[in-house]
Subunit: 120 residues, 3 copies
């Protein structure tokens, strides 16, 4: 059931969406925290309109990952997932000259008692 959403700013040209998602899914599945590989649902969102901080002269971009998992993982397991995702972001994110690119990963618990799951 994990959901992974990757947002990236549109000034990161040639952002490798498909390759990044393949690598992220491999890394998250390798953690052993996904019961069935097909449960991991990952997507990218391109952000066209953004402002980072308060210095209009600075060249800045970001990539942000949010992983939503059913509650119950240990803090160590969440830290490990976050580091795995961060390492893949670092490997695949383009780095335009002179740009400060911030990478971040947020791990979010989902309410297990209220979660609905079905298939067609």
């Amino acid at each position: 059931m994990p959901h992974l959403v990757i947002e990236y700013t549109s000034n990161l040209e040639n952002f490798p969406e498909a390759h990044l998602l393949d690598a992220l899914n491999a890394a998250v599945i390798a953690s052993g925290q996904v019961q069935n590989e097909q449960d991991l649902k990952s997507r990218t969102v391109r952000t066209e309109q953004f402002v980072i901080g308060a210095d209009p002269t600075a060249l800045r971009g970001f990539v942000h990952a949010e992983l939503r998992l059913l509650a119950g993982r240990t803090p160590e397991a969440k830290r490990d997932l976050s580091d795995r995702i961060g390492a893949v972001l670092r490997e695949f994110t383009p780095h335009p000259e002179g740009m400060l690119v911030q990478l971040s990963v947020d791990i979010v618990d989902m309410d297990r008692g209220a979660y609905y799951k079905g298939t067609l």
Copy 2:
């Protein structure tokens, strides 16, 4: 104040966005958990770039709902809301031949003390 966001993968052709949102709002309001019908704000997001799991030969799609409510509902009320939303997703989601379509609903508490609400 509830917020409902429906994400769906772009391989679910002819996804009935408007009809689905109308049916979801009717189902959520019928739960009795929305004080004023106008408080329920629902939207769809079409996901063009996604990878589900780690098998590139598999035909897969998903529809994911996130309902954000002010904290304070009972676990039973959240379970009921999740099941109502799941039932509507099941009724309205197209099922392309040979595709595994995953449906999910996440119910999220919002911090009541910090929530801002206003109207123009």
Copy 3:
């Protein structure tokens, strides 16, 4: 590390995305809750497909802000952030004649132990 996402409905024509983001960043940084101005990453999302409530004859729109911060702020600090953001939304949101426009701000804690942060 704060992340600020502003969603607005597409019936709010001439929505001032860039000016709003500049004003929001100034207001959030002025709160003293952001360690380094460059940490604040703000973006807008335009929502094209939405249904508010259950009255198809009503003219309605919304602007919704979600601010995600590392856990640890006091309830008072969160309330202050929410009010600052709400005041900026109220100042910059267009008000088409006859439309009920709902404004809202949700302040969300991020798990400090699992958060990944890096730069390129």
